[in-house]
């Protein structure tokens, strides 16, 4: 089926998320929508899927204009979507999720589960998915859940399939498998819209690439275009994709972790006998698929995790058993992975956020009250230094862009004398310009002789920043390797395969 979006304009108040966008997706074609976070890709797809109503423009399928007042209409017209955050009910089985909304019945509204199971098996067999229709979603790995999403769309005879950032949660191997599946779907005549900001994947699979920036189509490209060309189109200026850094000059071991183990509230092991050393002046990056213990590792060091076994020593001082405040005061800087929840207080101003950790002491406070003048001049100085773009230091942090929020966090954490710097997902959701800035700051911190621990699920980032890479799988450090290790090998390690 041919899909055409003609002059789509979607506004939220004064903000134009999509500005007269034209796109044509031919049958059996993989059409990539490339753009930075916030460029308007997802808004466009939500318009297509009937979740949003566009102010202007029209959606045509095989030349016929469509009116979608909800996802139900879009699905009936043959549009399916594999959402970035899966739209699956965790406590339902595969079959229940697939049939939800168009359930087969034995009459009188009584569910016909056998038919539903059969349908799952049939589609699953066609693509070699190997899905068990009776498995509960919450027990399945993320990659398999995504297949359930695909089966869900296909069971409604989707002719146009939208993949919204489908690789964000996958291991490199799972990504390869997904690319295979998308090719298979294309062979079967399905039109595919592939939304991504990852240049490598887009170039690997797309037939046509449309680049979107600030809600507008800024050009299209062939998949043969170089990464530099695509990035320049996406950002609007030439960008540096590689991180410039001198070879590391590692010093003594500063942080030493031995036999660190932890369990979560359900009793599942989240950290399993972790041994790790980080030296002064090196960046150690922890790679792994989300949810394999990286978050817990960072939280354990900073003192957010109770019930730990083993030891974490920073320059010979044990950190386990200390409060977060004591750990920070011992010279640990921490950029948490969930910036908007744990990194900043959205309702506080830039100035207030910059002194959150030192609001009780010199030079910002005397015994009873804050020294507002000092706080203010400190904030102005740091805003300049870290290029925080705002209407002044009294602006609430919640009103800043993600990139500027992260700069505030970095400015706060790096303006203390550090003996260890930890950054979790330091560039998640940031634009290319901010990513570059954050990376430069991290490298500069290393060059100042501070040991740096990076946790990231973006393999590109890990490879670009790290002096050594530790790969985690199911709470264990599978191996510590050099940054020039092949992606295939890193991918196998991330899947727990030690070869």
């Amino acid at each position: 089926m041919q899909l055409e979006l003609r002059g789509i304009t979607k506004r939220f108040g004064a903000f134009t998320a999509n500005d007269a966008i034209d796109i044509v997706v031919e049958p059996g074609q993989i059409h990539a929508l490339l753009g930075e976070n916030g460029a308007g890709k997802s808004t466009l797809m939500n318009v297509l899927y009937g979740l949003y109503q566009a102010e202007e423009g029209s959606i045509l399928l095989d030349g016929i204009e469509q009116r979608f007042s909800g996802p139900g209409d879009a699905m009936r017209a043959g549009i399916g979507m594999v959402h970035q955050h899966f739209m699956l009910v965790p406590v339902f089985t595969v079959a229940e999720n697939v049939m939800l909304g168009h359930e087969p019945t034995k009459g009188a509204g009584v569910l016909d589960l056998e038919t539903a199971r059969q349908r799952v098996r049939e589609i699953s067999a066609r693509f070699g998915f190997g899905l068990d229709p009776d498995a509960r979603i919450e027990d399945l790995p993320v990659g398999v859940q995504q297949r359930v999403e695909i089966v869900k769309a296909l069971s409604r005879d989707a002719k146009v399939l939208v993949f919204d950032e489908p690789t964000a949660v996958l291991t490199p191997q799972e990504t390869d498998e997904l690319i295979g599946i998308m090719r298979q779907l294309k062979e079967a005549g399905t039109s595919i819209v592939f939304i991504s900001h990852k240049l490598r994947e887009v170039r690997a699979i797309a037939d046509v690439i449309t680049v979107i920036r600030r809600g507008k189509v800024v050009g299209s490209a062939e998949p043969t275009a170089s990464s530099q060309e695509l990035a320049a189109l996406m950002v609007g200026r030439a960008v540096e994709l590689t991180v410039h850094k001198q070879p590391a000059a590692p010093g003594d071991v500063a942080l030493s972790i031995r036999g660190l183990s932890a369990r979560n509230a359900q009793g599942t092991v989240t950290l399993d006998d972790v041994d790790l050393d980080i030296r002064r002046g090196e960046i150690l990056a922890v790679a792994g698929v989300q949810g394999n213990g990286q978050t817990e590792l960072a939280n354990a060091i900073i003192g957010l995790l109770g019930g730990l076994e083993g030891s974490i020593s920073l320059e010979g001082r044990e950190l386990i058993g200390r409060t977060v405040k004591q750990v920070l005061d011992a010279g640990v800087g921490f950029v948490p992975e969930d910036r908007s929840h744990d990194g900043i207080v959205k309702e506080f101003t830039i100035a207030e956020n910059l002194i959150l950790d030192r609001s009780d002491r010199d030079p910002f406070a005397n015994g009873l009250s804050l020294k507002l003048g000092t706080v203010r001049s400190f904030a102005e100085e740091k805003s300049r230094e870290y290029d925080v773009r705002s209407q002044g230091v009294d602006t609430k942090v919640g009103r800043l862009s993600g990139g500027n929020q992260q700069k505030v966090v970095l400015a706060r954490e790096l303006s203390r004398p550090l003996k260890l710097f930890i950054a979790s997902q330091p560039t998640r959701g940031l634009d290319v310009g901010s990513i570059q800035f954050v990376h430069e700051q991290i490298v500069a911190t290393r060059d100042a002789g501070v040991p740096v621990l990076i946790v990231s699920t973006e393999l590109d980032e890990v490879v670009a920043l790290a002096d050594r890479i530790a790969v985690m799988y199911q709470g264990r450090i599978v191996d510590v390797v050099a940054p020039d290790t092949s992606r295939e090998r890193l991918g196998s390690l991330m899947a727990g395969v030690v070869a």
């Binding site: 979740l51 996802p71 139900g72 979507m81 739209m87 406590v91």
Partner: protein, 406 residues
Amino acid sequence: MIRAYRTPIVLGVIALLVLVLFGLIGSDGDSTFRISTSGDFFTVPDLVLPSRGTALVLGVVLLVLAAGAALLVRRGRRVPVWLLAVFGVLAVLGTLSWAIAGGTLPMTQLLQGSLALAVPLVFGALGGVLSERVGVVNIAIEGQLLAGAFSSAVVASLTGNLYLGLVAAAVAGALVSLVLAVFAITYIVDQVIVGVVLNVLVVGLTSFLHSAVLDSASNSPGRLPQIEIPLLAQIPLLGPLLFEQTLIIYLMFIAVAIVTFALFRTRWGLRLRAVGEHPQAADTVGINVARTRFMGVTLGGALAGLGGAFFTLGSVGAFSQEMTAGQGYIALAALIFGRWNPVLATLAALLFGFARNLASVLGIVGSPVPSQFLLMLPYVVTLIAVAGLAGKVRGPAAAGTPYIKG
């Protein structure tokens, strides 16, 4: 570690209490359990047991069960529900044999009364199940019960038709929950707050109307007749309990069956649960979240309202101020103890009804236990049940969270 062993520890403490309090330092004398009534086919002889001996034996058995539970936990397994059920029944027997030492306990009356007290709880819990399964926390069960009690009395009195009273009760409950739905779903007000406010509102409104408007003509509906099912009603113990009851109790059994089937076997139920677990997922497959929630909440309110009718048409025969006396909150406890499952919630409601009735029956039999202690019993049972044994239960994921599109 301690947390994992919570259930065995609670069981162990109860077992020791039975063994020591009721067995070792219990009172002498025989405890008589009367099982038959005069109308039965055949007469089952009274069960006569030595009070202390029984408690001793039961105490030991309970300790063994508690040890078994500890063993299961040590092997990383969950304590099965049947073990808890058996433990509960035996613990109650142990307590009974102590409490009625030297007296006679009429079992039929005990169970009949328990069922009666459980009826509003069962309806309330079922209403709560529907509401919470669709994603709206229903604290307003109390208000729905009370509204049902009031309207059924008034409508039945004015029309002279008890069955119209039942219908009115359901409508009143539905209306109360409709207010909850409008505020919770349309205006995204905090669901707990709306629920509490509604409860207070209904108490005020019905009390006002009761004292200002109602008179003997508009508040004398009479009581629903007992419908005796031939033959079945003459089975000892079970007959009077299950087959010699009013329409509303038969309706209750039917409602449990229908809600259970509808929730887990029909398209309607699948969609309702999907909305309560992951409204966005439901929305993206074309299910109207707001409409489904309205439907679930209102239907739940109607069921709870029906339960309220039991206070008036089913037992007392007239409305009095605040006659629900917090039973709506106990229904809420039954719902949680029953893990949002209609059948388990019903069993929990029956347990709470039993505890309450036990207190009054023991008072009548003339047990040596002080009456103040007996009055406390149902709430102690509720507390132990919900806090100690229910453990960490997981309700519908989206219950209490409003759904905002986009």
